[in-house]
């Protein structure tokens, strides 16, 4: 009986460990997995953006909380937006960020990612995982991820490159658009930007 108990307990601990993977472990696992694919895929190395976008969609995005990211990027005006507008904004901003991020991945060649030591107090729900990208002939680039603990596990809500947040760097631009054309104006602007990027990509891929 006692044995069974211990066994059950061990099983429970193992299961919860899988469900709530530590944030630094998660970042390392996803990064290594994605870079391994990029490294072995000729199409991606030749700049096939759509293929990278699909890869990011499948492997990376499940670990991101885009709603939170968009709220951070929009700032004060987020509360002015209706639930539907928030949804549209999140969808458009996601498309924009994924494309920009995916393009950075196609440029990936000889870089190496180093993971900085990570410590977390028990019960912490908001953490920073620090990494560094090394490339021959240039200075290492700091790449940090902010994660929050949700019921579904740890999710990334911000990324900073050399101290520049890919999310909050949009705040002034978004606020400007909202001043000019309201929340709908902002949605329309990002949507138009996404469409023009998409049609450009079509041209490049055909070449």
């Amino acid at each position: 009986m006692k044995k069974l108990f211990v066994f059950l307990f061990a099983g429970f601990v193992a299961a919860s460990a899988v469900a709530q993977e530590a944030p630094d472990v998660l970042i390392k696992k996803v990064t290594d997995e994605v870079l391994e694919i990029v490294r072995s895929d000729k199409d991606i190395q030749n700049g096939n953006t759509q293929k990278v976008i699909d890869l990011v969609d499948k492997k990376v995005l499940p670990h991101f909380n885009f709603q939170h990211m968009t709220a951070l990027a929009v700032g004060k005006d987020w509360r002015k937006a209706s639930a539907q507008q928030q949804q549209q904004l999140t969808a458009e901003f996601k498309t924009l960020l994924v494309r920009t991020y995916a393009n950075a991945l196609t440029g990936y060649k000889n870089q190496k990612v180093v993971y900085k030591p990570f410590k977390m107090a028990p019960g912490e729900t908001d953490v920073l995982v620090r990494t560094e990208v090394l490339q021959p002939g240039s200075k290492p680039v700091q790449l940090d991820y902010s994660l929050e603990k949700l019921d579904a596990g740890w999710k990334v809500y911000d990324m900073t490159v050399a101290g520049i947040s890919l999310v909050t760097n949009y705040r002034d631009q978004f606020a400007q658009e909202v001043r000019n054309g309201g929340v709908d104006g902002l949605i329309a602007t990002i949507s138009a930007k996404n469409k023009s990027l998409e049609s450009n990509q079509g041209k490049v891929d055909k070449k």
Binding site: T100, K139, R171, D172, Q173
Partner: protein
């Protein structure tokens, strides 16, 4: 004579500033951004710089990037990096970061000798990490306020504090103080370094081009965030959302 020039200069600059303010008012920048009070002037300068970059600087940087194999480019970057390590160390001393200054001094020693005049960054291989310091950061640590954001032709974004810092950095810059009879060596070193730095920014161009709704604002905000990060050595305190 000097006085006359000064007076004319003042007149011209008054006129210029007046014209630019009129321009910015005409462009309808009504509610000003507290982080960028001279936005009208800056946007005008940004356009000038962007045109210059497209016409001349970027094509040269691209050709340079395409012509030099990676090890050579790395050597050029390392060489200029090494010439900067002494001043970086002095700035670390001025900021009270003596341990970092010791590492900078060791880097300079190792790279100038084992690294053959700085062409190879042997120190980094040995675990002596390169630091990013300049006089603008030192002034920030001393408590000098950043002042408004400005955009300059050629050197690009700088706050007032960073503009003063840049002047200080240039004044003691070993590359600028190379003395030769014709100054040709110095000039070609300065130009090579400029092109090398521009070439290293080529990948970032694409991100700005694709990611930004407004390139001017994107670059401004990225600059301000990056400087804050440098001043706090990569660990800036969190801002309230």
């Amino acid at each position: 004579m000097n006085r006359i020039f000064a007076a004319t200069d003042a007149k011209i600059s008054n006129w210029l500033i007046g014209a630019l303010f009129a321009l910015s008012a005409g462009m309808g920048v009504a509610d000003e951004n507290p982080r960028d009070p001279y936005e009208g002037f800056n946007r005008a300068m940004y356009s000038v710089n962007d045109a210059l970059d497209r016409a001349a600087i970027k094509p040269v940087a691209k050709a340079y990037d395409a012509a030099l194999p990676l090890p050579v480019r790395a050597g050029v970057g390392n060489f200029f990096g090494n010439t900067g390590d002494l001043w970086i160390g002095i700035n670390d001393v001025m900021q009270g970061k003596l341990a970092d200054a010791g590492i900078d001094a060791a880097r300079l020693l190792v790279n100038s000798t084992l690294g053959i005049f700085g062409l190879f960054d042997v120190a980094s291989e040995m675990g002596l990490e390169k630091h990013e310091e300049d006089f603008g950061q030192t002034m920030a640590v001393w408590g000098v306020p950043s002042g408004p954001y400005l955009f300059w032709p050629f050197i690009g974004p700088r706050t007032v504090r960073d503009t003063a810092g840049w002047l200080g950095d240039t004044f003691v810059d070993p590359v600028w103080s190379v003395r030769t009879r014709t100054a040709a060596v110095r000039n070609s070193l300065v130009v090579t370094r400029y092109v090398d730095v521009r070439a290293s920014l080529l990948p970032a161009d694409k991100v700005v081009e694709e990611g930004a709704l407004d390139k001017y604002a994107y670059i401004r905000d990225a600059y301000l965030q990056r400087r804050r990060n440098q001043i706090f050595d990569g660990r800036p305190p969190r801002l309230d959302d």
